[in-house]
């Protein structure tokens, strides 16, 4: 038996080619290295979450703090033991909203222009300019907001109406920062739409504009949606611009009534966002044991959860639209 089976072993009789992999060792090493890289990034994420959760747990364990107040309070004033997160969340909402109002229409229009209208030459000029916009350090945007956008808003709407620090100015400038990202992801999505669909539209007597807006954009909607959500998470997480230009203290409210009045959503008032607050507190010389210090981890955890939710939403939207469009 063993003799027979030996005869069938490749290479034994010199006729069958040697099929043993020469590169198998190399392949295995590469596989392990790549796996390690993946593991490192996962471990980093996990340790960040662990730190956030542990510190936030300490924070919520403190006698001055209750989870209920954290979510329902309208004042964030660590000095007097008030930890209601809403003022910070509200400021983040305002700056992000302003940013998206600027970035989304401009970004998508730019993407439509670049993908459907611009000649190769024009595109080769405009794209690098947009990329420069994306490469400007955010602190520069911050001072641009403070020294250009705010004075501009104050000239337009009156000095009495617009604070020196305000969420509107920071948000608008943040919109310009996000714009290249939105336009570049949207442009990729638009360009991925097959030309056969454009031909079909032209063949039915559609103009270029009808083709772009009523065939190409809808077909690329999932990609554009992803651009929107990514831009939004970027806006929520953006720190430097709001730290410089939005305000250096929470815009606290006496009651929910006030929080949801016109005052609460006034873009011309100074307000500190979640990220701005974290940045300011962590710069100060406060003790690591203080409640102030551990409070910022609770805010960090909030930010993490918001970004996570945004990502989950974008994934589900993309998946839903994909079923519809592919």
């Amino acid at each position: 038996m063993s003799q027979i089976s030996q005869k069938n072993t490749p290479g034994q009789d010199g006729l069958l080619p040697d099929l043993s992999g020469r590169s198998s060792v190399f392949e295995r090493v590469i596989g392990i290295v790549l796996l390690l890289c993946g593991v490192i990034s996962i471990l980093t994420t996990i340790s960040i979450v662990v730190v956030l959760v542990r510190e936030a747990y300490l924070f919520f364990g403190a006698p001055e703090v209750t989870v209920r107040e954290f979510f329902t309070g309208t004042t964030w004033q660590p000095a007097i033991g008030k930890f209601g997160i809403w003022p910070l969340v509200n400021a983040t909402l305002l700056t992000s909203f302003a940013a998206m109002v600027v970035a989304l229409p401009l970004g998508i229009s730019a993407a439509i222009y670049l993908s459907e209208y611009a000649s190769d030459r024009t595109r080769s000029i405009i794209k690098p300019i947009l990329e420069v916009l994306a490469g400007v350090p955010t602190v520069v945007y911050g001072y641009f907001a403070l020294t250009f956008m705010t004075p501009l808003l104050r000239t337009i709407f009156g000095k009495g109406n617009v604070d020196i620090f305000n969420t509107g100015s920071a948000g608008i400038v943040m919109g310009f920062m996000i714009l290249p990202m939105i336009s570049s992801i949207s442009e990729d999505a638009l360009r991925a739409v097959p030309d056969s669909l454009r031909s079909a539209a032209y063949g039915l007597g559609a103009t270029k504009f009808e083709t772009a807006v009523r065939v190409v954009v809808p077909a690329a909607l999932s990609g554009i949606m992803a651009a929107f959500i990514l831009g939004l998470s970027r806006a929520v997480g953006e720190t430097m611009i709001v730290a410089v230009a939005a305000g250096a203290g929470p815009n606290n409210f006496d009651s929910w009534g006030e929080a949801f009045s016109a005052e609460g959503f006034n873009f011309f008032k100074a307000a500190e966002t979640m990220t701005g607050h974290i940045a300011r507190i962590s710069q100060g010389d406060i003790s690591y044991a203080s409640l102030d210090y551990s409070s910022i981890f609770s805010i960090g955890l909030m930010l993490f959860v918001i970004t996570l939710i945004l990502n989950i939403i974008s994934r589900s939207i993309v998946n839903r639209l994909r079923e519809q469009y592919e």
Binding site: P194, S196, L197, R198, S199, A200, A201, Y202, G203, L204, G205, A206, T207, E210, R214, V215, P218, A219, Q324, Y325, E326
Partner: protein
């Protein structure tokens, strides 16, 4: 874009175009006159003159790369959207040069519809696929009725009437192609250009498309590009053979297939071409 060079160039081209094919009994829907198409420096269509008769099926045949699609796209100015393309000559649509400077290519395409080689339904519902073109063309009537009529004309209604709001992409390849035909019918064109409409389909789906073409020619003028000799013989009234950008022969389909006057034609239809 259109040089008025027709006056300088002789209208009588080299190819053999029979009296009957060029004059015929019916009116001309389209009349290509000494059309040249250049992609950059490359001349893909070298002075073709081809009259297309109303309510007939005209087939364009010829080896791959001979310029059939290029010529077909000239008929509704689809070449305009290709960059680097230059067209000379005239194409008369009901006596009017569609390449004249005051003509809007969008208006031309609303009259002269096109069905492509690869079915390309929009990633929208079946209903919206059919309604889309009519809608952008300002159709104000009963859209439901138009959709049904177009789908019936395209012999697709029975297969899709219960799922009009499913994606057009959920259909089979042959159904998708008929959906594209329905979509073109919904804009109520005069002429339908078809570029190898059945080349990606199985024999049954192909014969459905062929039956459909024969029905449609009651009301529409059809120009069809095909690689399939039997198909040209079965459905078309007239056939033109193109070769390296030139028109070799244009005549009644029956004459082309039984008694061609050119050796090249005979070689090509019997499959003896190199």
């Amino acid at each position: 874009m259109v040089a008025n060079k027709t006056a300088e160039r002789p209208l009588t081209a080299k190819p053999v175009v029979s009296e009957r094919a060029s004059s015929g009994t019916g009116n001309l829907a389209l009349d290509a006159r000494d059309v040249h198409v250049f992609y950059g420096d490359f001349e893909a269509v070298k002075g073709i003159s081809l009259p297309v008769h109303e309510k007939e099926i005209t087939a364009l045949i010829g080896p791959s790369g001979c310029g059939k699609s290029t010529l077909l796209r000239c008929f509704n100015r689809m070449n305009d959207v290709v960059s680097g393309v230059r067209i000379e000559g005239q194409i008369l649509y009901k006596g009017q040069d569609i390449y004249a400077s005051q003509v809007d290519p969008v208006a031309v395409r609303r009259r002269i519809g096109m069905v492509f080689q690869k079915a390309n339904p929009f990633p929208k519902s079946i209903y919206k696929n059919v309604a889309w073109g009519a809608k952008i063309n300002g159709f104000k009537g009963d859209m439901d009725a138009l959709v049904e009529k177009s789908l019936r004309q395209a012999a697709l209604w029975d297969e899709v009437k219960d799922k009009l709001h499913q994606s057009g992409l959920s259909l089979s390849g042959g159904q998708q192609q008929r959906l594209c035909i329905a979509r073109t019918l919904a804009i109520e064109p005069d002429v339908i250009l078809m570029d190898e409409p059945a080349s990606a389909l199985d024999p049954i789906a192909t014969s459905k498309i062929e039956e459909l073409m024969l029905e449609l020619k009651e009301n529409y003028t059809i120009v069809v590009v095909t690689h399939n000799m039997q198909q040209a013989a079965r459905v078309s009234d007239r056939t033109a053979l193109l070769w390296l950008g030139e028109l070799v022969e244009y005549n009644d389909t029956q004459t082309i297939f039984t008694n061609p006057s050119q050796q090249k034609t005979e070689d090509y239809i019997t499959g003896r071409h190199g």
